[in-house]
Symmetry: C2
Subunit: 190 residues, 2 copies
DNA sequence: ACCTGAACACCGTTCAAGT
DNA sequence: ACCTGAACACCGTTCAAGT
């Protein structure tokens, strides 16, 4: 072997990664407001100023978390769409994947769609990851260029997002999201 | 007259009210995160500790703003529903009023539906105002007890919320929300 | 190159003291 | 009753200094 790893090295192995994980943990445990650069650094075991070697601002760490989230969401949604030949089936499947992601990883979803990250044109990689995730939906919508299906596809996506938000905020007590009957409009069931 | 009003009295006229207005202003101008008890007090012209005579915590001020918002939303939504005899027309109208409120007063909407206010059973008056606003929708949904209309009503509400969120976060570029054609499912148009 | 110590301006919250 | 002064613990951010 080239070198022996020390027990607690002066240099953290992958501080950037560790900080992202700690941030997500904090959001999951105590909510977006509880996330603090200093607390994240504390959990990782480094001085809080060390974080600035990897993220220029607190929100840049949050943006990094969000970006990863959009990559994951994009993959899931793309996989869901790929399983269907029929256009509207694919739209419904992507909406289902969207909802499943939001309910399955609420902390990530809140960082991604929460209010902290203003979309001001800075953070181009975050923007790209977001666009990429939503592109699946938009491509499907674009393919449905006849008026009713296009509107319906957009509506389904909007509804999926609304359901995710309302459910996570406990404004709705529906337990199931289903868009399984092709002949009827998309619906929630309880 | 009983007494002469001083120019700048030691006691603020209605500090609770003024703080709510200042808070909403701050959120509108710089976003939820920019809102600060100290800054709100600064704008109103009092020592920051004075706020604690009216609100026990920072979030209680936010909760008061949200509560007012729910009262306004409840009124608008109720008025919209009252203008229609047909059940589904009424559902559509309430959804439209919901969207109009969110787009017309984004700051208020964000405080109301944002992440700061955890619904933990404290703040019963806020809870009541929220329930009251949503009750209009739920009553309409309850009246539509046959399966398809019930689901469709719930779906419309969910979609209205999703549209408001996506639009405010600039994730969607649709300019119009319409559910005007009774025969078709609720749809967005661009 | 990567991390720490120390400092600055700011915040939420408290409490004794003023009017 | 309502407000201020002063203080405490905390945070984001910076920067010179350590390894």
């Amino acid at each position: 072997v080239k070198a022996v790893r020390k027990k607690r090295p002066y240099h953290h192995g992958d501080l950037a990664r560790a900080l992202k994980d700690a941030a997500l943990e904090l959001v999951a445990e105590e909510g977006l407001d509880a996330f603090t650069l200093r607390e994240a650094a504390r959990r990782v075991g480094v001085h809080h100023a060390a974080a600035y070697r990897h993220y220029a601002k607190k929100d840049d760490l949050l943006a990094a978390v969000a970006e990863e989230g959009f990559v994951v969401l994009g993959d899931r949604v793309r996989a869901a769409a790929a399983r269907h030949d029929d256009l509207m089936d694919a739209v419904r499947a992507t909406a289902g994947a969207y909802v499943a992601f939001a309910l399955g990883e609420p902390a990530r979803f809140r960082v991604m769609l929460g209010p902290r990250l203003n979309r001001d044109g800075s953070r181009p990689t975050l923007e790209a990851a977001g666009q990429n995730a939503f592109k699946v939906l938009l491509d499907l919508v674009a393919r449905a260029d006849l008026d009713p299906p296009r509107e319906r596809a957009l509506s389904i996506w909007t509804m999926a997002h609304g359901f995710a938000e309302l459910y996570l905020r406990e404004r709705i007590r529906a337990r199931r999201w289903t868009t399984s009957r092709p002949s009827s409009p998309p619906c929630l069931t309880e």
